[in-house]
Structure formats: C-alpha cells, structure tokens
C-alpha cells in the first residue's frame, strides 16, 4: 500500500478549524521559529479514514482469528471494556486535578476505582499492597528491582546479583541490569521443565539481591518446589520476585503471596483482558508483601474513615516517581471492569479453561511434534520442531505455513532453552472447534514437512507480503520516509 505521505494533495485539509476569536498575533521571536513547515500530509478526512481502514485490513488480531502466541495471552477482550474506557467521566479527567486544593475530592470516582483494583489484586494474588503505576510488565519488573535495591540499601546491605531462570523472558535480565545488577542464570531441569532447586541452592549467595521466578514458567510448567525456591532465597537474605506474565493459569488456584513471594507484577493486558493494541498500551501493577510497602513508588491511594480517598506522597523510603501520574489509568479501568464482570467464579473458570484448552491442544499435537517436557502443562506448552528441522523444515517455516492456514503462528524460538521451539498458548476464550481446526492444520503441515518441505519453505503464499528481507532492512536502515 502507498505511504500516506504519497497520497498527499497540496491544499487539502482533513479538519475544519475556526478562525481566532482573539487577536492572532505571533509573539515569538523569529529566531525561535522553525525555518520551514513540517512536511505533514494534506488529506481529507475520508482520505485518512480510507488509508487507515486499508492498513487495518492488512492486520490480524484476536478479532480476526486464533492467535496462540505463547506467553502473550491473546484472549478475547470483551467489547464493553472499550465503551467503559471512553466514558467522559474518565477520559476527560486531567491528571493534575488532585494538585488543586482538596483536589482529591475532584477525582473521587477515579481514586475509588484505583483503590478497589489494588485491593482486588491484593486478594487475588495474596499480596499486602499494590501500585498501579507501572505501565507494562517490564516496567513493573524494573519497579520491583528498584524496590529490591531500596530494601537492601535500607538495611545497609550492598548486594550485586540477581539470579534468573534461563528460560525467563528477556525482560527479566534486562530489567535487573537497568537497576544496576549483574545477572546470574539458573538452569532449568530439562526433564521436569522446572527451575532446578538443588542447583539453585548452589547459585544463590549473600551477593544475591533477588531471585526472579516465573511460575508457571515459559514452558507452561508449574514449579511445585516453589516453597523451596523461596526458602533458598530467604535463607541467603535475598528477595523473590515473581513475574506474573503467566497468571492466567492460576487465578483462584495459587496466590504468589501465600508461597512467600516478596515482590511481583501482573500484566493486566494479559490476564485481565485489556487489548494488546498492536504492542501496547499495557499495565504492569506491582504487588509487595508488608515489609516492602514503604518502598512503593509515590503517589499511593489511601482511604479515609469517611470512605473518601486521597493521594499520599509522604513516604520517606519510597523509591520515588516511576511514572508522572498514576500509571495507565485507562487500562486499569478496563481490568477493573473485567474483574467485576467475571466475579470470583469467573476468574477460576478462566484459569481452568485456559489450562484445559492448553492440555487438550497439547494432547492433539504431542504425537505430531516433539514434546520436550512430557508432563501436563498449565496455560501453554512448548513443542519442538527438531524432527522436522532434520528434514529442512524449521519452526519458522511451520509458523509461516500456519499463516496460510488462517492462523496466527505461535511464538517461535522461545524459550531459548528449547531447540526449534513452538510456544503455544490457546487461552480460555477459544472454542473446541477452533482448537481442532488448528490441530488439523498442524497435522497437515507436519505431513507436508515430509512430503513437500519446499512448499513450507515458500510459505506464506496468501499474504500481501512474504518473508520480508530482514538483512536488507538492517543494511538499509530505512526507518522513515
């Protein structure tokens, strides 16, 4: 499709703007003005709407079809949430209103929702307090790591390392490094798919500030020795950070707080059904146990005895501001509405069906592709295309062939510890018919890997483009028109 800039017609306008109802003087010195106008488009409203509608048709979302992208929890997002986020009582609310005198009283509706969502997250995950400020999962990890650092500093301890499972999301080590820590990898037992608690004991030391853990992990395996992991960390004076990327598996089944987890984040855009937006916005609230509360970022929402709410900034041990305001409030609002819609039972059903769907799909696929970890999975599972790769068909080829079958591919080549990984997360909102259709497509592809591998290497053939040249992209570095 042509770039929008190529469609521009000089003299055309997309928005009618009134003239000035005040003197239209420009009182800025000439040397502070730009030399030439910005080269923006000149298009009508219809031109722009058609352009974007055209672009949208080149896209594939959960509303288009099955999107089993492992680790991303691409579940259906109820439409009512969109309507709620657009309510003018929230969408037109300026975040500096609380700075006016009695300002908290001007935003009681918003503060009530923030307070209630924090309370619900505490209940669902067994933590003592939550902050809604982090704007994505990785932002939550960084916030958590900064709190870990503040905690140790407050005790007069200088710890330098963070221990992270080798299967963890790349954001974990990146967040730990940003907070000033060096990263030590802890191995996963290849047979059980779990962090090897015995070997962990030899890695965690008095230098360890925290152990970062994802449970269930990126292989979709719940680590039943989580108590041991926590005990090993605590015995060494280290804290345990729980990456909540995979919480969709355990709602109402397991609460990190009950296992002694010190700090955690939850990706609202995964577990609580706020749409992923083509790569955001998300939200990554962070929860802590009691003795880490003083380190939470400011501001915090507090409730008075008369049931009114206010923002409190006076926490001398706080790590400070990690966001200018209160996080992605609009995303939090959707997640709150989702929890109200589902209720306690709905949350439990969500996880039960996410896990049932994953196990069912795994049972349909485990004889077609290699299953590196044999045990029952939680919300997702990882297959290996190693057998197919011997015949020259790699995980990427299988992913591309799935596109021709009408499906979004799973996550490929992650986790890094599985060769030719295909990481599949069906989520609870998909029907058996969809899972069956996907399994049949995977069967056809596995057959083709034997009979006609070349065809798979040429896939996809039904899309507007096929396998863009990434090497050329890096060489040309064409990032703008």
């Amino acid at each position: 499709m042509q770039l929008i800039f190529e469609k521009s017609v000089p003299g055309r306008a997309g928005v009618m703007l009134p003239g000035a109802d005040v003197p239209d003087a420009l009182e800025i010195p000439a040397d502070c003005l730009r030399a030439a106008d910005a080269e923006l488009c000149e298009l009508s409203e219809l031109d722009v709407v058609r352009h974007f509608t055209g672009l949208s048709r080149l896209n594939f979302g959960v509303d288009t079809g099955f999107y089993p992208l492992g680790s991303c929890t691409m579940k259906y997002n109820p439409k009512i949430l969109e309507r709620i986020a657009r309510l003018e009582g929230f969408s037109d609310l300026h975040p500096f209103l609380p700075q006016l005198r009695h300002g908290g009283m001007l935003v009681q509706g918003a503060l009530h929702i923030m307070h209630e969502l924090e309370r619900l997250l505490c209940e669902i995950f067994g933590m003592s307090a939550f902050t809604l400020h982090p704007m994505a999962g990785a932002h939550g990890e960084l916030t958590g790591m900064m709190m870990v650092a503040a905690f140790h500093r407050d005790r007069g301890e200088k710890r330098t390392e963070v221990v992270i499972a080798d299967e963890a999301h790349g954001t974990n080590p990146a967040s730990a490094a940003l907070a000033g820590y060096s990263v030590v990898a802890a191995p996963t037992d290849p047979d059980t798919g779990m962090l090897d608690a015995d070997r962990l004991a030899g890695i965690v030391s008095p230098r360890t500030a925290a152990v970062m853990l994802t449970n269930p992990n990126t292989l979709g395996i719940f680590n039943s020795r989580i108590r041991d992991v926590v005990e090993i960390a605590h015995r060494n004076g280290a804290l345990v950070y729980y990456d909540g990327a995979n919480l969709n598996a355990v709602l109402g089944k397991f609460r990190p707080g009950d296992a002694g987890i010190d700090v955690m984040h939850v990706n609202l855009h995964k577990t609580f059904a706020t749409p992923h937006g083509g790569g955001g916005p998300g939200a990554g609230p962070v929860g802590v146990r009691k003795d880490l509360e003083p380190f939470l970022p400011v501001s915090r929402v507090e409730k008075r005895h008369d049931n009114t709410y206010f923002l409190e900034y006076d926490f001398p041990k706080s790590i400070g501001y990690i966001a200018p305001f209160y996080g992605n409030f609009g995303v939090c609002l959707k997640a709150y509405a989702y929890i109200l819609l589902l209720g306690a039972e709905g949350l439990v059903e969500t996880s039960e069906n996410a896990v049932l769907n994953a196990n069912y799909l795994m049972s349909r696929l485990k004889n077609i592709f290699e299953l590196p970890v044999k045990s029952a999975c939680m919300h997702e599972f990882v297959l290996s295309a190693r057998k197919q790769a011997e015949n020259g068909v790699r995980a990427l080829d299988i992913a591309k062939a799935l596109i021709d079958e009408g499906f979004h591919p799973p996550t490929v080549y992650f986790p890094l510890i599985v060769k030719e990984a295909l990481m599949i997360e069906p989520t609870e909102t998909e029907s058996k018919e969809t899972l069956d259709a996907f399994a049949s497509a995977m069967r056809r592809i596995a057959d083709l890997a034997v009979t006609d591998p070349e065809r798979l290497r040429q896939a996809p053939s039904t899309t507007p483009v096929s396998r863009p040249d990434e090497v050329k992209a890096v060489k040309d570095m064409n990032f703008r028109a």
């Binding site: 502070c32 709150y336 059903e349």
Partner: protein, 445 residues
Amino acid sequence: MSYIATTPGQRAEMLRACGAKDVSDFFDVIPADVRAPPLAVPPARSEWEVEALLRRAGRRNYFHLLNFLGGGVYDHFIPAAVDAVAGRSEFYTAYTPYQPELSQGTLQAIYEYQTHICRLTGMDVANASLYDGGTALCEACQVALHATGRSRIVMDSGINPVYRTMVHTYTANLSIDFSEVPVSHGRSDRELLFSALNPETAAVIVQNPNFFGVVDRHDDIVSHCHERGILVIQSVYPIAMALLATPGETGVDIVTGEGQSLGIPLSFGGPYLGFMATRKSLVRRMPGRLVARTVDAAGRDAFVLSLQAREQHIRREKATSNICTNEALCALRAHAYLSLLGREGLKRVARLCHAKANYAKNRLDAIPGVSVKRSSPTFNEFTVQLPANATEVVGAMIERGVAAGLPLGRFYRGMDNYLLVAVTEKRSRYEIGMLAETLESTLCS
C-alpha cells in the same frame, strides 16, 4: 460471565482426550500448602450493571471543569476520525508485529508514525514509542550515559519537575552524578548551566517550551556541549513543534516528549505516548521497537521490526532497554491525528493555542494584584503571580467551575503564589473571560 465457549459436553470430551477425570487434575501440581483459598471477590455482574456502576463512578469526577490545566498534558481537540480508525479491532486486538505477513497494517502505521515524528522534530530516526514523556526522558539519559561512557547529567529547573524526579528514581542504583541548575527569567541560564559541566558530563537536558511555557532556542547550548563531547537531550511539546525551531535544526542529539496532545484523551494520566527521536549515529543505542522498510522475496515493499539485536528478547541483560510492550495504539492515534490535521491544520492549532494564551495573559495581567511573567516569550502556557497562595485561590475557583491552572508551590520552593496557566485551541474568548472574571472576583472576596 467468563467468555468461555466450551459446553459441558465438550469439556467432558476434552478431558477424556487429555486422560484427565476432572479439570482439577491439572492443578494437582500445586502443593496443598500453597493452594489459594476461595477468593473474596464479589460475584459476577451483568454488563449493564458494571457499566452503570462505572458510569456513576465517572460522574463523581470533576471532568467538566473549564480547563486551564497543563504541565505537559493538555486538553486539545481530538477529531472523531481518530477514535474511528483507532477503534478498528484489527489494530487494537493485535500484538507486537512479530509476524510481518500478518501485521503489515501495524508495521506500515508505525513506519509512518516514525516518519511523522522525524518530520515534526527535524530528527533522523524515531522509535515506535515509549510509555510516556517522563520515561522517554529517562531512556534518553540511558542512551547518553552509554554512548559517552560518562556518568554526569546536568539539567535545569525548566524541565518538568516530575520528569526530573523520575530521572533520579531511574538512576538511583547506577552511581550517576546530577546537577540541577535554576532558570533565570524562566529561561535556561547559560552561565550556570555551563559552569555545571565537567569532563564526566554525559548529557545536558533542556526542555522547549520549558515547564513555565517559555520558548527558547538552544543552539548555543548545543555548540558549547558538543565542543566538550556532551550530548544534548531536549524534551519537547509536539504541538509547539509546528511553529518552533526544531531540535534537528538546533543540533540536538536526542529528542523526547509526551505525545498525549496528539489525539490521546486525558484519561487521568494514561495511557499516553512517549516519543523519542535521535540522530542517525545513535540508532543502535535506541530503546524500543524500530520498524524498517524493506522488500520481500518477490520484490514487494514490506515493513519489518528491525535492529532487534538491541532488544531484550535477543540481548537480555545487554539490551539497550528492558522495554517490550510499548504504547503502539497511542502511536497509531498520534499518527492519525497528525494525518488529519496535516501541514496547515497543526500549524493552525499551534497558532490558536498561542494567540489565545496571549489573550489570556492580557486579561489576567489587567487584574489588580495579578502579574503575568513576561520577561521571556511563551507558547501556550505561562506563569502568573497572584497576591495570595495559588493553591487556595485555585481551590476556591473550582466551586465556580474553573480549573484555573497548576499551582507551582508544590514543585518550586518559594513559588507558593505562582500559577501555571495553559490555554488550548478549545478555549474560547468567552471562556478566557470567565477565567479572568472568576479570578478577579475570587481575589476580591
């Protein structure tokens, strides 16, 4: 309500296929001593009940005030077409475009967005988005620290005070040395700024227009810094960029800003849009996603995520940043906004903001005891000195339906009587009159 399609009959069939008796079998791996108790979460509610409940909560907010609040976030007009195109669920129910064949829509939109940011700022390369203006500034500091291998950052008090505290938070564990120098007459004080530099200085941060709304041109700061190997980071207000000398023209190295003004609702602080643009030489240190234009095997134009070797999912602890999920949908809104407003429209919005702010200055300055700070030129936001505590005055004006501005006492010592007033294109002459009249009568009472 749980949005699940599986019928009881299908569930039984699926369990059989898994060799399980009950769905609880799958959760046997969770040791009994860490099993969750029944959740104390209220029972399910219907869609209309939840909507009514939240509608009521929304009505308890004072969203309808006549708004002169700014401070980096502004009440600008949003064309309906922005909502319409961003409401296409092919965009908002997709995730990061890892599979380019199914994501050309998102990818081309990001490429066009990157182009828009570059053209607006005069820079070479823009990324696909960051969380917001504050975290974007923090990321820019990381770029500068790594690019120079130095450890000191110098900024002036014209930088958004919340952003300044965020920069401190983000570097608290990294042995970074800071210097903050005050502004003079609302502008960057060259002499003080330059005297704060030393050989360990990685970057100087400036803001244009700055937090007081003051417009400046930073060429002299840039050349002074570049002679010393220091990078200059500039935080900007994108609407003002339609008029002001661009960071590209001024020689700035890294530009960041809050993109909320570009078609994104106020939403009590987020989701917003952080943007970042740099000179080409810094592209490999850029945080976040970057979309490149290339071709496919058949020679067709195509767009892909590029230079991914910078990113956390490849480089892990050696990545340029930990960012993964960013604000793609907000970037799409900004792109649609800029496309609709276009060349003349964006300039018109900027001129309207500026003209109306000037009118407001004159009206407020005419009030006895009120003095508008006029020593430096401003864009659409300005500082007013009141004869009384600004928080008290503004609080009293709320009862008359006016949010008159942001009291500065909380952010600047000794400025308890100062108010920061922002005016956008949406405020009419009549409404500005109401601001002035309400302020005057409040001060008299």
